[in-house]
């Protein structure tokens, strides 16, 4: 069976607009959560999010191209460019045919849609610009990246709420492993911080009025974020042949559905996805040293996820480092799995595991070895990155330290 490795990473996030800045923030345990600036939120019950800061769209795209790009697509394309440059890959004729783009997004061009609806219904505007349909479509990132780099293999977008990116990366990984593709650009992107969508989150009553404290006894809900992360995936054979740097092997993917409830997660469903990822990657559970948790900081998720981890790892649970980096970059929904996979893989490569920021007090309901507030130096052989979505759809990625 073909081995699949990660050779390039690109990130746009609330804690840095490239991989270098992102990793520095993670390693410092620095949170990007603060008062929302891009829209007036004084009437909302929550005020904070992890916004992307200092992102200059005009420096990345010309005026004409920008007409076709919602912020979620701008983030996605910029992250994909960084990942491709980082990997050093050259897309020749044959390789272009065998490279696909698989991206995740939960709400697509929501920001564009929200603004157009406001103009249509509130301001009684008579006409839409012709760019709206392609700006709003959730597959915009996959299409733009494929066009920009001439990549003509299987290319599509998955939308499974907060698991979208893990489903996308998992699909790309499987397509390469089974020989359908030789390489892929895969990841997720999201820009959910427009007023109409924030209002909808307010009604769910799961957003914290202050900050994101995953697994902490005083946790008070999730904090939204925005951004993108993209990866270049290719076979280990091809990567080694061209002397590419290899961050880690993507070794397994596990998916499951709770078949239970729209918003109340079930530990057996999450455990099933973790077990399935380990089995798919032929990873012995005792080699797992780190889990980048879904860790939304809602009461329901964190207790459920702790129970699920214990179901899978039993007595070894306390030996596994766990952190939710959402405490720093927020919950980026359809980009979450990708940004957290980047945190996981960079942690493995740098032998330093990113912390769970804003952690105040252990919770008996979350009896895990949490990396509280400061990173730990550790050289782990294997790691998991969990994503569990509203609707009970779970996707877990398993990574292994690369060795040939």
């Amino acid at each position: 069976m073909r081995k699949v490795v990660i050779t390039g990473i690109g990130v746009v996030s609330g804690i840095g607009n490239n991989v270098g800045e992102f990793w520095t923030s993670l390693a410092d345990g620095r949170s990007g959560i603060g008062q929302i600036a891009k829209t007036d939120v004084t009437s909302l019950r929550f005020q904070n999010a992890a916004e992307v800061k200092g992102f200059d769209a005009d420096s990345h795209f010309d005026e004409k191209t920008l007409l076709w790009l919602d912020p979620f697509a701008q983030f996605g394309v910029v992250a994909a460019r960084e990942a491709i440059a980082d990997s050093g890959i050259t897309f020749t004729g044959d390789l272009k045919e065998m490279t696909g783009v698989v991206t995740g997004s939960c709400v697509g061009g929501k920001t564009t849609e929200d603004e157009q609806f406001r103009q249509l219904y509130a301001e009684k505007k008579q006409r839409y610009p012709p760019t709206i349909i392609p700006r709003v479509m959730a597959n915009a990132v996959a299409s733009h990246v494929s066009m920009e780099f001439g990549l003509s293999g299987p290319t599509f977008t998955t939308s499974t709420a907060c698991s979208s990116a893990n489903h996308a990366i998992g699909q790309a990984f499987w397509l390469i492993r089974q020989g359908t593709l030789d390489a892929a650009v895969a990841g997720g992107s999201e820009a959910p911080l427009c007023f109409g969508n924030l209002k909808a989150w307010e009604a769910m009553r799961v957003v914290s009025p202050d900050t994101c404290r995953p697994f902490s006894k005083d946790r008070s809900g999730m904090i939204l974020g925005e951004g993108a992360a993209m990866f270049v995936l290719e076979t280990a054979e091809a990567a080694m042949a061209r002397g590419a740097k290899i961050y880690a092997e993507i070794a397994g993917c596990g998916m499951s559905a709770d078949a239970h409830h729209l918003t109340m997660p079930l530990a057996t469903g999450a455990a099933k996805a973790m077990r399935s990822a380990l089995a798919d990657g032929n990873i012995a559970p005792e080699t797992v040293g780190y889990i980048n948790a879904h860790g939304t900081a809602t009461q329901a998720n964190d207790a459920m996820e702790s129970s699920a981890i214990r179901q899978v790892f039993g007595n070894r649970t306390q030996e596994i480092y766990v952190s939710s980096t959402k405490s720093m970059h927020g919950h980026t929904l359809g980009a979450a799995g990708a940004i957290e996979a980047a945190a996981t893989v960079l942690g493995m490569k740098n032998r330093k595991l990113p912390p769970n920021a804003n952690f105040n007090e252990r919770d008996p309901e979350c009896d895990l070895n949490i990396i509280a507030n400061a990173p730990v130096d550790a050289d782990v052989e294997a790691a998991l990155s969990n994503s569990f979505a509203f609707g009970g759809l779970n996707a877990v990625l398993a990574f292994r330290r690369f060795s040939n």
Partner: protein, 98 residues
């Protein structure tokens, strides 16, 4: 606004939401007795916000598990309109600054 009229309106919202006769809803009826799960509870709170045009803060929601607790909570919010948001701007005149 009298307390009984608030109670009457709350019980009407409950009976319409659950599609049960009005007389089946009593002051001591609980969410659990009506078989409301967490999502049903959220939707019911939304109906109550619409009925009374109030914003019920998250911490108040947590203390509303029966008809009488909802009536008390709504009455309190109607009496304290400046408390309807956890974090939004407070009415400046309501509380003198020190």
């Amino acid at each position: 606004m009298t307390e009984s009229s608030v109670a009457e309106r709350v019980m009407r919202v409950f009976s319409e939401f659950k599609k049960v006769p009005r007389e089946d809803i009593k002051m001591d009826t609980t969410f659990a007795e009506l078989g409301l799960d967490s999502l049903d509870g959220l939707n019911l709170i939304f109906e109550l916000e619409e009925e009374f045009n109030v914003m019920i803060p998250d911490d108040k929601v947590e203390s509303m598990k029966s008809v009488s607790e909802v009536v008390d909570g709504i009455q309190w919010l109607l009496d304290h309109p400046q408390e309807q948001s956890n974090v939004g701007p407070k009415t400046p005149a309501a509380q003198p600054t020190e």
